[in-house]
């Protein structure tokens, strides 16, 4: 049997079997769950080669599945993160209700994401897209909190995006007579200008929703923070990348063929820039770690979109690299929050403090991820951000550089807040019972954290597949001179010169870490958080006086004008207005039979009066 179809059959059958096994006691469902994620992923890595395709016909449409170099990069994210988060989930979701339902949706999500990447035709792309949407929706509402607001909001936005995409698909079908992505790319330059504009806009609405592009992002904070954390890591790490994947195809293969379409790229890049700034600012303001990470995800996706939007070779490369890195570190961070929430029962930064000694391994994973997120060398985040700045400067987007730089600096604030709030600071007696998370949760986190480090030191591991992907997209081959694209490599030295620098940085870092730790141990003086009598005020019992409260007050006073307008309010207002309007329209049905009879007579009379216009 064809391996491609086998993978999907295993996924689907595994999902159903796991769901059914949920009715039994015992660990059968866990075993089935891991198997039905693990087996297809292994099959994917061993038996699938780029270019292998599988075609069939259904409902009068031609279907084709196969993997391209570009989708291979994203498939790496999905398969890797999916596998890690699956292992994590087994432990994290233990003793929860309806675990088999969680597993079912988890497998379907992984399947649909791989399906999106495998699709070479728009119909199966859309089908998998929608499966991904509803399975992730079921995860968002899984915990039953704010279902009617957050869940519905997520689904409405997804539906609007998906329907925009569906409209583009049917329009494409009517224009080309084919559903193949390749034939779309080939015949796109021949379309009329209106269509050339309409199709990318519609597609970008669809992809923009999933990748939380600025005016379409309002679903994201709620959805990311309401899903179980084991899922959120996939949600933010991999699922949002599906939007990026689609966006890459649209930006490179379609928009570059629009005559005079470069401003289109500018718009997208600027939207990405605004997304990055606003996401970061809102992230700083959050006290709940889940929300913080959710907004941070929006911001990071903004960077990626800037890279993809600018579209120069270096920018594209930085965007794709950041996409991979973001999957790794954001996946880790969501897992960390999940572990802390599981052990302490809350994810509020102002409540939990001083876990460094209780959960050292978790701290280590968080540390790596935060460093990567903040873009500090030697971890992967640094390289990608550097490349982004360089590409922006290289393509004369100075204003955008300032925006990105601002947001990137501001990101330090929430990184600090996250790390400090949870792990550092005073140890409260309230949290003295907290233990390290189970090994099955810690190991995936650490693996991901270490891989951010590995990719930071050896970026070639991931830059090579990205390079191949970019070649198929039509960028020039770097011919092995990959390293020369960025001055970080070619000015400061080549690969050989780079690594000593990295090692030096690591060495300095480790030195200071040891130094500070040892010094810190010596001079520690234990006081309670309430011990602030020196400032002259005696706090009351119920006042939360953790340092994380009103953490960045002065900063917010500075940026307040930026944050005053929330687009969410406009959406809510619009939705309420529409509901009121619709509530009014249903009053047509007055309940009086005579009125209905009157409608009939009026209908006839109108038709008779205007018969020549209507039927003439």
């Amino acid at each position: 049997m064809n391996t491609i179809i086998l993978i999907f059959i295993i996924f689907l059958g595994g999902a159903i079997l796991t769901f059914l096994a949920g009715m039994l006691k015992g660990i059968l469902k866990e075993v089935l769950f891991l198997a039905s994620v693990f087996v297809p992923v292994v099959l994917f890595f061993t038996n699938i080669s780029i270019g292998q395709t599988f075609s069939f016909q259904a409902a009068g449409f031609a279907f084709q599945w196969g993997i391209t170099p570009l989708s291979y990069v994203f498939a790496l994210i999905v398969a890797g993160l999916g596998l890690m988060a699956a292992i994590y989930a087994v432990s994290a979701m233990r003793n929860k209700d309806n675990v088999s339902f969680f597993y079912f949706n988890y497998i379907l999500t992984i399947m649909s994401m791989l399906g999106i990447l495998f699709s070479r035709d728009l119909i199966s792309f859309f089908i998998f897209w929608e499966i991904m949407t509803w399975s992730s929706y079921l995860m968002v509402v899984y915990q039953g909190k704010d279902v009617q607001t957050v869940g519905i909001k997520y689904f409405i936005f997804s539906a609007v995006g998906a329907y925009a995409m569906l409209m583009a698909i049917v329009v494409i079908y009517s224009l080309t007579g084919s559903m193949m992505i390749d034939s779309l790319i080939q015949s796109f330059p021949g379309f009329s200008f209106n269509m050339q504009l309409l199709i990318p806009i519609l597609l970008l609405i669809g992809f923009g929703v999933k990748s939380a592009l600025m005016p379409l992002h309002v679903w994201a904070p709620g959805a990311y923070s309401h899903a179980p954390m084991a899922y959120s890591s996939v949600f933010s790490g991999a699922l949002s990348k599906m939007g990026i994947y689609g966006m890459v195809i649209v930006m490179v293969s379609l928009i570059s063929h629009i005559p005079g379409g470069h401003w289109f790229r500018e718009v997208i890049a600027w939207l990405g820039g605004i997304t990055a700034v606003m996401g970061t600012l809102w992230a700083i303001k959050q006290d709940d770690a889940k929300k913080l990470l959710a907004y941070s995800s929006i911001g990071q996706l903004g960077y990626i979109i800037v890279g993809v939007g600018i579209g120069t070779p270096l920018a594209m490369m930085s965007g794709l690299f950041l996409a991979v890195m973001h999957a790794l570190f954001k996946g880790t961070l969501f897992m960390v929050v999940g572990a802390i929430e599981r052990q302490t029962g809350t994810s509020n930064l102002t409540e939990v403090t001083g876990l460094i000694r209780k959960m050292p391994w978790t701290f280590l994973a968080a540390l790596f991820a935060i460093i990567a997120l903040a873009g500090i060398p030697p971890l992967g985040g640094f390289i990608s951000k550097w490349m982004l700045y360089e590409s922006l400067i290289g393509s004369n987007h100075y204003l955008l550089v300032i925006v990105i730089f601002f947001s990137s600096t501001a990101a330090f604030l929430y990184c600090y807040k996250f790390l400090f709030g949870f792990f550092l600071g005073q140890e409260e007696t309230e949290w003295s019972h907290v233990k390290e998370a189970p090994a099955m949760m810690v190991v995936p986190m650490l693996i991901l954290a270490v891989s951010t480090f590995v990719l930071g030191v050896f970026p070639g591991l991931i830059l090579n597949p990205i390079n191949e992907a970019m070649q198929t997209l039509g960028y020039a081959n770097t011919q092995g001179h990959l390293w020369e694209l960025s001055i970080i490599f070619n000015e400061w030295g080549n690969q050989i010169a780079m690594q000593p620098i990295v090692y030096t940085i690591i060495g300095i870092f480790l030195f200071f870490l040891t130094f500070l730790t040892i010094k810190g141990y010596k001079e520690t003086r234990y006081v309670t958080t309430k011990d602030i009598s020196s400032s002259g005020e005696v706090p009351k019992e119920h006042e939360n006086l953790t340092f994380s409260m009103n953490f960045m007050q002065p900063f917010f006073r500075a940026v307040e004008p930026l944050m005053r307008r929330q687009i969410d309010k406009y959406y809510t207002g619009f939705a309420n207005g529409m509901e009121a309007l619709f509530d009014f329209t249903r009053r047509i049905y007055t309940g009086n039979g005579q009125t209905y009879a009157m409608y009939v007579v009026i209908f006839v009379v109108l038709l008779l009066l205007f018969k020549n216009i209507i039927f003439g």
Partner: protein, 500 residues
């Protein structure tokens, strides 16, 4: 040959007359016989459909007079498809409602099954007859059984709903008679094929006036916008399975009648545009009205009206793809909406008011019913990989092929509204807390009801995963509808002669 199309009508009528007698012998037979009859109709129509797809249209004459003179039944791929669909659905409705309410007395129960059987027989009659006055008679049979079924429960406002339905139905039959009078006065014939072949000789003014009265008369049955005031009330107050039968069977017959008029009988091209406009208005008004409903069945009723609007839009596109999409929508709607009605009425079975708010947390108490309901909800809003997706896709691509982008936008916006109200209910069922005071008490549906729902659910999945299972039949049917000349020739020259 296992039989002929006329048995689809004759057998249920015979059974309807026999049942009161047999009920005096053994009461249980009153419930069983309609099921047997419906099963027989299903087998008969399915075999005939197969026969027709192999050998061409069957034209059955009645009383030995050839088509322009006698009444004839036409069993073509289109009518056969609809008849098969209706009898299959009828059988499932019977299966579900077999002992639906155990506390109902014998006398009403007996009548319930007679009415149900005649409702389905009447709807099939509307579809397979080839004579406009005969169609009128069948519309009345369907109508009166529908009024009676709507008023089945004595404890509620069902009489009010039924009376409104009846008022509209009476107006509908009056308008139909006017239209028939005009047509007959001009052409001197009542046979559809004969009318179609002579239509070009008719004065255009009269043609249009006749069409207007036809559209109004049948539009009431087909739930076109300003004429559908009865529909939400009737769906709400009728028993759950009857709501399913209305949505799945009666409306389909009404839509078929309109479509037959416009596609075959009248040669007025602008009527297609009219269909699109009126269908869109129906779709939008119904779906927006459904958004804020408090009662489950009323919401389903509006949703069903909206779906019919979409079907009419798809027919109005008028191309082969459009007709195909419309038939596909009809099929999917006939499979999905009954599932929603069945599982929904099981969910709120023990509630008095049947409010949506009473469904909170029922997912944990009645997991299977809740799963069926959400499967139906997922399918009807057109999420892949369920049945509704393919029909929505084909509607949109049919519209896109004709360049009707505005229609696509409107349909998609309405789909979003549809998603909102269906998902609100699904959310309530699964993700909100069950409260003993406010939620409906759980109810264990009987095995026969479960079987009926299982069949529908499997149909949804099969169509969703393997749409080619049905597309062949649908393509044949849409070819059949569009080929007017062949219809006329077949009927007037007796088509495929019956070998018996």
């Amino acid at each position: 040959m296992v039989g002929s199309p006329v048995l689809l009508i004759a057998i249920p009528l015979l059974a309807a007359f026999v049942i009161p007698l047999i009920g005096m012998i053994w009461k249980e037979l009153v419930r069983i016989i309609p099921g047997l009859v419906l099963a027989y109709m299903l087998i008969l129509s399915a075999t005939l459909l197969y026969y027709v797809s192999q050998n061409g249209i069957i034209v059955e004459t009645i009383a030995g007079w050839q088509p322009p003179w006698g009444i004839n039944l036409v069993f073509s791929p289109l009518t056969g498809f609809l008849a098969t669909l209706m009898s299959a659905l009828g059988f499932l409705v019977w299966l579900f409602s077999y002992r639906f309410k155990r506390n109902v007395d014998f006398e009403p129960a007996k009548k319930y099954f007679i009415f149900l059987m005649l409702l389905i027989a009447g709807a099939i009659g509307i579809v397979i007859t080839g004579d406009i006055f005969n169609q009128f008679v069948f519309i009345e049979i369907t109508g009166i059984s529908a009024y009676a079924l709507t008023a089945f429960y004595t404890g509620r406002n069902s009489a009010e709903a039924s009376f409104k339905y009846l008022m509209m139905g009476a107006l509908a039959s009056s308008f139909l008679l006017v239209a028939i009078a005009i047509l007959y006065s001009q052409l001197g014939t009542l046979n559809m094929a004969d009318i179609a072949s002579k239509m070009h000789t008719m004065n255009p003014t009269y043609k249009i006036i006749a069409l207007i009265f036809f559209i109004t008369g049948i539009g009431i049955e087909a739930e076109i916008f300003p004429l559908n005031g009865w529909a939400p009330d009737a769906y709400t107050e009728a028993p759950g399975p009857v709501g399913a039968a209305f949505a799945g069977i009666v409306v389909k017959a009404g839509v078929y009648a309109i479509i037959r008029m416009i596609f075959t009988l009248f040669d007025i091209p602008s009527a297609y545009d009219f269909l699109i406009v009126i269908g869109l208005i129906t779709l939008i008004v119904a779906e927006t009205s459904a958004l804020r409903q408090e009662k489950l069945k009323r919401m389903l009723a509006y949703s069903s009206i909206g779906q019919m609007g979409l079907v009419i839009v798809a027919f109005g596109i008028g191309t082969h793809e459009g007709v195909f999409a419309a038939l596909f929508l009809m099929l999917n709607h006939a499979v999905i909406k009954p599932l929603l009605f069945f599982s929904g009425s099981s969910l709120v079975f023990n509630s008095k008011e049947k409010q949506i708010a009473e469904m909170n947390g029922l997912g944990k108490r009645m997991p299977l019913m809740a799963a069926f309901f959400s499967l139906g909800a997922f399918a009807i809003v057109g999420l892949p990989p369920f049945a509704g997706f393919w029909s929505k896709l084909s509607v949109l691509s049919a519209a896109a092929n004709e360049g009707l982008l505005l229609i696509i936008v409107l349909i998609l916006i309405v789909s979003v509204i549809e998603i909102v109200y269906y998902f609100r209910v699904v959310n309530r069922i699964f993700f909100q807390e069950y409260s003993r005071e406010k939620s409906a008490a759980p109810h264990r549906p009987r095995v026969n009801a479960l079987v009926a729902m299982f069949v529908l659910a499997i149909a949804i999945l099969v169509i969703g995963f393997y749409p080619d299972a049905v597309t062949g039949i649908l393509h044949n049917a849409s070819k059949d509808l569009l080929n007017t000349d062949e219809y006329i020739n077949n009927v007037l020259q007796l088509g495929q002669s019956l070998t018996r």
